[in-house]
């Protein structure tokens, strides 16, 4: 048995640039024997290979639109690849965005349970970790208030707290370490480092290069959907800084 946590092999992903075609346009296109291109396409990922070992922490770097979020979505299974394969080992928690499963009309408590189970815990596990989650978020007495009355920082704190208490084997983080105020950011960073030290595999997407240098050992740089560098985090960061 190997020790890879994530194996990405020659993965490509192509998107349609125009989504808003109508039923009429499509029918006409089908009647004409599918002639011509209904919508132009665009390669968001182009033959990417990445192997991540169990316990490794990898930063995924690149400019806006280079395909980082797309790659994370492929790894978490939210999207499927057009060609190539993605395989993972163990429970994967993909945090493409904090609070994706939060509903504004539910209370903090209800949202913690809903989101905990959405992120793969059982109801019982969520109940066991409930106090730890609330304590981490420092929401305190607001826990039984509906989430729509939270400040945006409070909302993000609670969502992040749920996410980091799910104990996955592989943790995919997209731009969420910059939530909250300065003390809370420090706390998030400490929690992620703690997860890493406990053997959890991390893939972190962020534009905060100083922060990723602290969390990750290895950096992968994407440029227009292609992998252009893969090595120690210091080299990846300096490549990106030079542009």
């Amino acid at each position: 048995m190997g020790s890879e946590a994530i194996v990405v092999e020659n993965v490509s992903k192509r998107f349609n640039l125009r989504h808003t075609r109508s039923l009429k346009e499509t029918v006409v296109w089908l009647l004409k024997g599918r002639r011509g291109d209904l919508s132009s396409t665009f390669m968001a990922l182009d033959g990417v290979d990445i192997n991540v070992e169990v316990g490794e922490s990898v930063a995924l770097l690149g400019l806006n639109g280079s395909g980082k979020s797309t790659l994370l979505k492929l790894i978490s299974g939210v999207m499927t690849t057009d060609s190539g394969t993605v395989r993972t080992r163990g429970k994967v928690a993909g945090l493409i965005e904090v609070g994706a499963g939060f509903h504004p009309d539910l209370t903090g408590r209800e949202n913690v349970f809903l989101n905990g189970v959405i992120l793969g815990m059982t109801e019982k596990e969520t109940a066991e970790r409930f106090d730890a989650i609330v304590e981490f978020s420092e929401i305190g007495k607001f826990i039984d208030t509906e989430v729509k009355f939270y400040s945006s920082g409070m909302f993000l704190r609670l969502a992040f707290a749920v996410a980091v208490h799910t104990n996955p084997d592989v943790f995919l983080i997209d731009e969420i370490l910059s939530v909250g105020d300065e003390p809370f950011q420090k706390k998030c960073l400490a929690r992620v480092q703690e997860l890493r030290d406990s053997g959890c595999t991390l893939v972190v997407v962020s534009h905060d290069l100083d922060m990723v240098s602290k969390v990750c050992d290895r950096g992968v740089v994407l440029r227009q959907g292609k992998k252009v560098a893969d090595g120690p985090i210091g080299e990846a960061v300096s490549l990106l800084r030079e542009g």
């Binding site: 993909g94 009309d105 539910l106 109801e123």
Partner: protein, 288 residues
């Protein structure tokens, strides 16, 4: 560390995945109900008030005012059909909208996507039960003495409508992601649903005016079969109908032939809906 093998992330066990994540299904259903009745004093009680009022309106407006009460227990006939159509409409309509409505989740976290249509159907069941209760209370009031086969028929009707609405709901929920036209198509279908089954009129009118051939195809509609099974179970065993000179006129072979036919057709529709859903599922996240 985990001893699991490397595996592709998207296992896609379809409806079986939903069974595996019952916890989540229950929470999503609870969320839907909470959100539906937020800041409402009566809350779920509304699902008793609405059909109750509907029943009273039928009795007085149609029955007394339009004189339809001359037909024996007309109000039971109509109400038992109407609640099935209500159930079908809510289950099918909401299931169609469910995937698009949960776009935020579908785009960002991997869950078995069948969860959303299934949860919609479940919520529809929660709203169906109070209507069923009102029907039962009314039935006892009208001297209801059902037989066991009639009750089995009613249970069969419920299964038929559930499979049918889930199957159609899965199909149109997936189509709705690609073409929002689907919602409007479904609304049209639901508008016609009341008229394509004998809810507001008697089934033999169709046979007598439109002929045997048309009636055969009319009878293949699982909703028609389900509504007739409900008539057989709730309307025909009430005392006024049993004592009426012409008795309860019901289609022949309802239990022996049409019940199995209805179950089979709706199971087929469920299978088609599920496989269409699974074929399109891979594109949900990028199209929403």
């Amino acid at each position: 560390m985990s001893q699991d093998a490397l595996a592709a992330p998207d296992k896609g066990g379809g409806l079986f995945d939903v069974l595996r994540r019952r916890d989540l299904l229950r929470l999503i259903v609870r969320k839907e109900l909470k959100v539906r009745y937020r800041s409402s004093v009566l809350g779920l009680l509304w699902s008793y008030v609405k059909p109750g009022v509907q029943f009273v309106v039928f009795y007085f407006a149609l029955g007394v005012f339009l004189g339809l009460n001359k037909q024996p227990n007309f109000v039971i006939y109509m109400f038992s059909g109407i609640i099935l159509v209500n159930y079908f409409s809510e289950a099918f309509g909401q299931a169609t909208r469910s995937v698009v409505a949960n776009a935020a989740l579908v785009k960002k976290i991997y869950l078995p996507r069948e969860l959303f249509p299934v949860a919609s159907v479940w919520v529809a069941i929660v709203h169906f039960l109070p209507q069923m209760l009102i029907l039962l209370v009314a039935c006892f009031f009208f001297g209801w003495t059902p037989t066991i086969p009639q009750l089995i028929g009613a249970a069969g009707a419920f299964v038929i409508v559930t499979m049918l609405s889930l199957g159609l709901g899965l199909f149109f929920a997936a189509a709705n992601v690609l073409f929002r036209d689907s919602e409007n198509i479904v609304d049209l279908m639901l508008m016609m649903a009341t008229w394509f089954s004998p809810v507001l009129y008697a089934w033999y009118l169709v046979r007598d005016t439109l002929g045997e051939t048309f009636y055969f195809f009319y009878q293949l509609n699982p909703m028609t079969i389900a509504v007739e099974l409900f008539h057989a179970a709730f309307w025909s065993p009430t005392s006024a109908v049993r004592l009426a000179p012409e008795g309860a006129r019901l289609p022949e072979n309802l239990l022996s032939l049409w019940l199995p036919v209805g179950l089979l057709i709706s199971l087929l529709i469920l299978a088609v809906g599920q496989s269409a859903f699974r074929r399109l599922e891979g594109r949900f996240a990028q199209e929403l």
